[in-house]
């Protein structure tokens, strides 16, 4: 379980997160929607410790992420993350991209790491691209590679930060399908997304961010069907 308590995050004078309380249960899929700049990405970075926080607590399976002495490298193995930018490692083949972290972080022997990598790449439909370099892949394939790379660490949670928003429209579907598949397999996921259709259909809950706060949170039917807050109504009117 991921528990976030009274989380505040400042960049200098700019307070980007202004008191977030949120709990995500094992097996749950939470989508986060909200306007640009509302702090959605920052929240994800605070969850896996890529950004320090200003106040509050984040607990992942009871481990305080930002406590002194927390082994972040170890903790991050439980938290897979996929970013908006396609950031595959261009100097490594598709297979090596995925096998690298299992080998050097989990300490698997090369053959075992490659076996894990091959399995995950086949899972996301890239089984025929193992020897290619990422530059030869489409954006959608690169994002699926990023998903496989995160999954190869066998994480308990997956954090998606607008995994599809840098993609050409015709490539969005294949990445969303991969995410749907993970959700159906029971992966616990937090998905920052601009894809309202995906949020509505796949999520157990949807959180609407507004200026660093959770303005409204609830089941997708409620959020999209009968939004309560005027701000969410206005947001949905704009994006739907």
């Amino acid at each position: 379980m991921i528990q976030i308590e009274n989380l505040h995050k400042k960049f200098g004078a700019l307070e980007v997160l202004r008191g977030i309380d949120l709990a995500v249960n094992k097996g749950e899929v939470l989508s986060i929607i909200g306007a640009s700049g509302s702090g959605k990405s920052t929240l994800l970075y605070c969850i896996n410790g890529l950004e320090p926080i200003s106040e509050g607590r984040v607990l992942v399976d009871g481990v305080d992420v930002h406590a002194r002495g927390t082994d972040l490298n170890r903790l991050r193995q439980r938290l897979g993350m996929v970013f908006q930018q396609w950031n595959s490692f261009p100097h490594l083949t598709v297979l090596e991209n995925v096998a690298l972290a299992p080998r050097i972080v989990r300490g698997l022997p090369r053959a075992k790491a490659e076996e894990v990598a091959r399995r995950q790449l086949e899972h996301v439909g890239l089984g025929d691209k193992l020897a290619q370099y990422p530059a030869a892949l489409s954006g959608g394939q690169q994002q699926r590679l990023a998903i496989a790379r995160a999954l190869a660490m066998e994480p308990e949670y997956m954090l998606f930060d607008e995994a599809t928003s840098a993609l050409d429209p015709e490539l969005v579907g294949e990445v969303l399908d991969t995410m749907r598949m993970l959700a159906a397999e029971g992966m616990t996921m937090i998905c920052v997304t601009h894809e309202m259709g995906f949020a509505r259909e796949v999520s157990d809950r949807v959180a609407f961010f507004h200026q660093g706060r959770i303005e409204e949170i609830g089941r997708p039917e409620e959020m999209f069907g009968k939004p309560r807050s005027p701000k969410l109504k206005r947001f949905l009117a704009k994006v739907l």
Partner: protein, 219 residues
Amino acid sequence: MSNTVTYFTGFRGADLLFLAEAAWGTLKLSALSIAVGTALGVGLGWMLAELRATRPILVPLLDVFRSVPLIIQLVLFFNFVPMIGLGLSPFAAGCVVLSAYAAALVAQVARAGIESVGRPLRRAARSLGMSYGQAMRHVVLPMGLRTVFPAWVGIVLGVMKDSSLVSVLGYVELLRASQILITRTQEALFVLGVAGAFYFLLSWPVSWWAARHEKRWQQ
């Protein structure tokens, strides 16, 4: 006619061997200086890129090595060493100065390479649980140094040529050997032509190897 005769009797087969040996000297000097200079330079480049606080000290220091003509550095260093009671052969002194010079050049190139790997990629690496050192060794350095590989090859070829300056310390490398032969045979053009061919033979494999790698990495 008589000139031609002098020229052929002047330059003997043994002289070619003499030049080849000198070329070997050039190769040793350059290879050693480039190896040491690259290792040192990458370390310094890492400091410049990642430990910003070192810049006010490192940048001017490296600029000294980059901007003072190598020939002056060589003569100064070679004459300074005995003053503090150490004895260095011309070869060793040349190696030290050339290494420092190469390191200063490589440092700036390596810094640029490391900085070319942006925050998103570093974060991606760290998000997989890699430590700072692992991300540096397996992601940032291989990617960044590849980006600046052509600039590094330029430094390698430059150092090979600049190694000829070590001749001022009396070390018999290719250029010095040529001068000796020219004095004896009075055939400057021919001897320099042969020496030039040796320089080309030394640097051509480097260019070839570099071009092959660049092509492979481009895909």
